[in-house]
């Protein structure tokens, strides 16, 4: 891979470097490579839903337009802002960890966690509203307001996509909490902050998927 031949002569490096890596640099880029492979599988997993969405949207565009009118654009936009800001605080946490600023790392991770929680709270209100109105997938669709019957399928995609995404947000919160505990124990420094970086990559992917979900679900017309 990278042809860098920095033979880092750090004495403290031995504390975290596994023996089968040439140096800490190689260990770091190997971990990142592995994380990117995981992210590629995540993209393909969500990809199945995106493809299904695209095909059905091309068959029943009028049902998609009718369905999206039941979604609250403002709530969707607020959640977009929450996730974008959380991505920013996450990258700041990685930056702080890589420059030995423990307090800043902790504060930024906490902010990321809170933005994620805010996202789920908004999502809870949206789901509660949909369930109350009977805007549910397939046979559970009991909405009395009329419109194209394929709206039931639109809400199938809505709940499958936002549900899988919401689950990823929940997992991300767990990971962030775990990283905070480790940061609090002083495990990270400029020489070693790989876990912060990898959780960061995961978190940005969650943000990335929402960047597409928001216009596709809330802003069709």
């Amino acid at each position: 891979m990278s042809a860098e031949t920095h033979v880092a002569a750090h004495g403290e490096e031995a504390a975290f470097r596994h023996h089968h890596f040439v140096n800490a640099e190689q260990q770091f880029s190997t971990s990142k490579l592995g994380m990117w492979l995981i992210l590629a599988t995540e993209i393909l997993m969500f990809g199945g839903l995106f493809v299904g969405y695209g095909l059905m949207q091309s068959l029943y565009p009028e049902a998609w337009v009718a369905g999206h009118h039941h979604l609250d654009r403002i709530m969707g936009a607020v959640n977009t802002v929450f996730l974008l800001c959380s991505s920013y605080t996450m990258v700041m946490a990685v930056h702080s960890a890589s420059t030995n600023q423990k307090t800043k790392t902790m504060v930024n991770l906490l902010l990321t966690f809170l933005f994620a929680a805010g996202f789920l709270v908004v999502k809870y209100f949206e789901y509660a509203h949909k369930i109350h109105d009977g805007l549910l997938p397939g046979r559970s669709f009991t909405y009395a307001g009329g419109g194209p019957p394929q709206q039931a399928m639109f809400f199938g995609f809505y709940f499958a996509m936002t549900g899988l995404h919401g689950f990823h947000v929940l997992v991300g919160m767990g990971l962030i909490a775990w990283i905070m505990m480790r940061a609090n124990r002083g495990e990270f420094s400029s020489a070693f902050y790989t876990p912060v970086d990898l959780v960061g990559l995961y978190w940005h992917l969650v943000d990335l998927i929402w960047i597409y979900l928001f216009p596709l679900l809330y802003l069709v017309s």
């Binding site: 590629a40 393909l44 091309s58």
Partner: protein, 127 residues
């Protein structure tokens, strides 16, 4: 080792966040204007610009070894193929079926909804 791993100073992240928020405002604003079928295309294009910013700066692809970007982009290319072939099939299936065996393209639109709620209708099987 830290000097060359994250060469970008932290200010660039704030600038990128600013761009992302502005683009979000533009997408929401554009959704209130009727461009016909272009609305979806515009929204997806803006989302792609946002995704590129996140990947390049927040995910550090700009400074990473190229292999990470290759993995990322190839997963997107395969996703594109995944979408492309069923789409070609669905849009053109009707044209290659001999006249008289042509399937109904919009089966449920005019018919009354069947009992037991709305069907999650799959496309009518080619007959």
């Amino acid at each position: 080792m830290s000097e060359h791993v994250h060469p970008s100073s932290s200010r660039i992240y704030l600038i990128i966040l600013g761009f992302l928020l502005v683009l979000t405002a533009i997408t929401v604003g554009a959704a209130y204007v009727d461009f016909g079928s272009f609305n979806l295309i515009i929204a997806v294009l803006i989302a792609t610009v946002k995704a590129t910013l996140v990947a390049m700066f927040f995910m550090h692809l700009r400074h990473d070894p190229p292999i990470n970007a290759i993995i990322f982009v190839s997963s997107l290319i395969f996703l594109g193929l995944f979408l492309l072939f069923p789409l070609i099939d669905m849009q053109s299936r009707d044209k290659v079926v001999p006249y008289g065996l042509r399937m109904q393209t919009q089966p449920a639109a005019q018919q009354p909804a069947p009992a037991g709620g709305a069907p999650a209708a799959t496309p009518a099987p080619a007959h």
